[in-house]
């Protein structure tokens, strides 16, 4: 009966404001309602829908104490030019209070080409550090004790090669693999769908991924073997619900592949992690984080019968949205990143990278990286947002939005299931098309002024070209080429050839786990391009069939 009076009250309110709001037509078409009340979360059941932090369905967070225990890992993505340069930046970040490393590799490294490959021209050291062999990796982590830091590596198609290099560096430092902590991105499906740094076709790619799952479960137990990434799907233009839906659909495909390869779900599911984008709409983002945890918990429990709580938890690394940074009035980006940070923290992320204000223009300078890191520290220590667990729970708006995003995401997941799962949906171009549709819609809204981007389509000013941008010297390419030539002259080439021959044989036999064999090749100082070259030979290369 209380509801009846509430409904009446709501109607009276609506009638009253409708008229006065006619004066603001540009605020009329917003997606959210103007007011949320208990009517929007009818049937809300605290124990079923939220539960307690650290408990199924983990809506309120994966740890019982969240940031009352410890803050999220402040993990700044960095890497450029040579291993020497990047090593300096890593040491600087650790000295500035960063709590984990995050390696950015250049595109030739991400696509399995050595720096002296013709396709690498102009790209060496540009968007990340160039790693051609174990020799570079040794320099990259020089003086950084690998048993003391956790390292995240944004590497996908050749993830097994870079992970093998990391293990080999640890060996040289006297650190055994079971002491290593960190993450490899290793998420090939979103490469086909959104990011584009694939090498091999889906089938051998999935094999490499499950090989890593299996190897790490035995030898590198604290390693997060995959970071199933919505970040790039969002950057490519998707909506919040599409971001989590397509990513969870990818996650389902990985779990299915591992089970099919004979693994028990609880043996690897606890090492799966996710990667979300923190976009501008703060409350929508908070709702997205909460909805994603609830969906994944249900997927793991109901669909895959995962028994352990750890297997049901969606642990997430977050990066603030690069595509939301503007080249215009770049200082405004500091404010955007602060709001995005607030969203990620209220959403309960486990680790966070904050973008630097100048990233729409170039690689960030040391100063702008410091501001980005300070932003996290201010949110952590000063804002109060981290003082209580899941602070927005119970908000009519946030709960309604969490339900809405969850429902939209389930719709997509269902649709993808009907198509035959994420790999089939990607092959058909379904996921790519949905993303492109959203991206185009967004762009048109901006161009028509229906969506305001401050400094871009409103509040513009005449600006001077920004100064002090970081530039990567073109000589990096030459330097890396020389390093490769020197290495090839100095290493035991017979040993390399034997290792590569063994790899070739192993690639052809699907029952073999490739990780130990790649590790041997890495130890012999075979280059990344040589190792991936052998795999290209056996596996072939993926051809994109993008439809517009």
């Amino acid at each position: 009966m209380a509801n009846e009076s509430l409904k009446a009250g709501f109607q009276a309110y609506t009638a009253k404001v409708e008229k006065s709001l006619e004066k603001f037509p540009e605020r009329k078409n917003l997606e959210s309602n103007r007011l949320y009340t208990p009517l929007d979360i009818e049937g809300f059941d605290y124990e079923k829908d939220l539960g307690f932090p650290g408990q199924y369905p983990f809506t309120r967070g994966v740890q019982p104490t969240m940031y009352r225990g410890r803050f999220w890992t402040m993990r700044m993505y960095a890497g450029f030019a040579t291993a020497e340069e990047s090593n300096k930046r890593y040491r600087y970040l650790l000295a500035s209070g960063g709590s984990g490393l995050s390696c950015a590799f250049d595109l030739p490294t991400q696509i399995g080409y050595d720096s002296d490959h013709p396709m690498a021209e102009g790209e060496v050291g540009k968007v990340g550090v160039a790693i051609d062999s174990l020799a570079d990796m040794e320099i990259l982590f020089d003086g950084i004790p690998l048993d003391k830091v956790s390292t995240s590596m944004t590497i996908n198609a050749p993830a097994s090669v870079l992970l093998a290099m990391y293990i080999a560096v640890a060996e040289k430092q006297g650190v055994s693999p079971d002491k290593l902590a960190g993450t490899i991105q290793n998420d090939i499906l979103k490469e086909y769908a959104a990011r584009g740094t694939y090498i091999f076709p889906p089938k051998p790619s999935m094999r490499l991924i499950t090989n890593i799952f299996e190897y790490c479960s035995k030898h590198v137990p604290s390693w997060n073997t995959i970071s199933i990434s919505g970040y790039h799907i969002r950057e490519a233009g998707s909506t919040a619900s599409q971001e989590i839906a397509f990513t969870i659909a990818d996650g389902i495909a990985y779990v299915e592949a591992a089970i099919k390869a004979g693994m028990d779900v609880d043996d690897f599911a606890g090492r799966l992690s996710f990667f979300w984008n923190a976009h501008n709409n703060v409350l929508e983002e908070v709702a997205k984080f909460r909805a994603s945890r609830r969906i994944w918990a249900k997927v793991m429990k109901e669909r895959f019968n995962a028994k352990q709580a750890k297997s049901q938890m969606l642990r997430v690394h977050t990066q603030t949205a690069g595509s939301m940074l503007t080249a215009q009035q770049p200082d405004n980006n500091i404010v955007r990143v602060a709001l995005q940070t607030a969203a990620a923290v209220m959403g309960g992320t486990q680790s966070l990278h904050t973008n630097s204000k100048d990233e729409a223009l170039a690689l960030p300078t040391e100063e702008s990286v410091r501001i980005a890191l300070r932003t996290q520290q201010i949110v952590a220590y000063e804002s109060g947002l981290a003082d209580t667990v899941d602070p927005l729970a119970g908000s009519y708006y946030v709960e309604a939005l969490t339900n809405k995003i969850e429902a939209e995401a389930w719709e997509y997941i269902k649709k993808i299931d009907e198509i035959g799962g994420a790999p089939a949906a990607i092959e058909k171009g379904y996921i790519q098309k949905e993303i492109q549709e959203s991206a185009y819609k967004w762009q048109m809204q901006v161009e028509k002024g229906e969506r305001v981007i401050v400094g871009v389509n409103k509040f513009q000013i005449e600006e001077q070209a920004p100064k002090n941008l970081l530039r990567v010297d073109a000589s990096v390419g030459e330097l890396q080429k020389k390093k490769i030539a020197d290495l090839k002259a100095r290493r035991d080439n017979a040993k390399v050839e034997a290792a590569l021959a063994a790899l070739k044989t192993a690639c052809a036999d699907e029952s073999v786990n490739l990780m130990p064999i790649i590790l041997d090749a890495v130890r012999a100082y075979a280059t990344e391009g040589e190792i991936c070259g052998v795999m290209r030979e056996v596996f072939g290369e993926y051809q994109a069939s993008t439809t517009l």
Binding site: K428, Q543, A544, S545, T546, T547, L548
Partner: protein
Amino acid sequence: MDIVAGVLSGSRLALSRGITYVENEYDEAVDIMRKLYPHTGNAYVIGITGPPGAGKSTLTDKLAKEYRKQGKLVGIVAVDPTSPYTGGAILGDRIRMMDLTMDEGVFIRSMATRGSLGGLSQKTADVVKLMDAFGMDIIIIETVGVGQSEVDIVKTADTTMVVMVPGLGDDIQAIKAGILEIGDLFTINKADRDGVDKLNIELEMMLELNPKGVDWRPPINRTIAEKGEGVVEVVNSIEAHAAYLRESGELAVRRKDRLKSELFTMVNDRIVRYIAKQVLEAEGFEETLVNLQNRVIDPYTVVNKIVSDVLK
């Protein structure tokens, strides 16, 4: 640029520009085609059609590679629809043939259907002639099989292949009616998918019901174009069909029929343009329209008058 001399001496730029002249209906195009005509008639033309998503471009790519292995020069015309709303088009077939881009023995041209009044098949036929005169041994026309104009395009081919794919469900029923009758051979692509046997049986049954001819029964091949599987068999089927056409004398008959219909189209096209110019630009046409609208005169009388004037 002397396009005729260029095309005949193997200049890719001249060929490319010549195609543009034809596509854009530049006045010079007629003269170019006239001069090149004696140098045509040597290429074998393959038409490939089928529903969207059947993998036609990928299959075309693989077929071209197979012909290249035989040392043949290959021209490809990839036709995509123009948006009726904007007049623009996204031509995305080439992306699946990027490997071929660097091969000097292959020339790929993407074409949009544009808004032409039935003139598309004529344009395509002219583009084929340009490639023919350039020296291509094999010319593949690839187009989405959705409408009559696409059917007309592939009719300009010596051998027409219809590509199908399992799992399109009811779509097949709709497609059956239109394009299946024109297939000299059928290829079921993505044959590793469920439903391949069912589709095969459906096709067989349909071929039973609509026999193509007494002596040629269209073969049904299976391919997984992405992996290159079954492509050699398709090439063999095309060769078999070509041999059949030659030996039976059907090739000459077909080509002659085609010339007849091409000639008819050209004459028709010319007359329509002439009439359109005479009628639409004639003095007093606006007035006639107003009179029609006000029911002062009737269209039947107007037509009689126009026709008798034109035929005078």
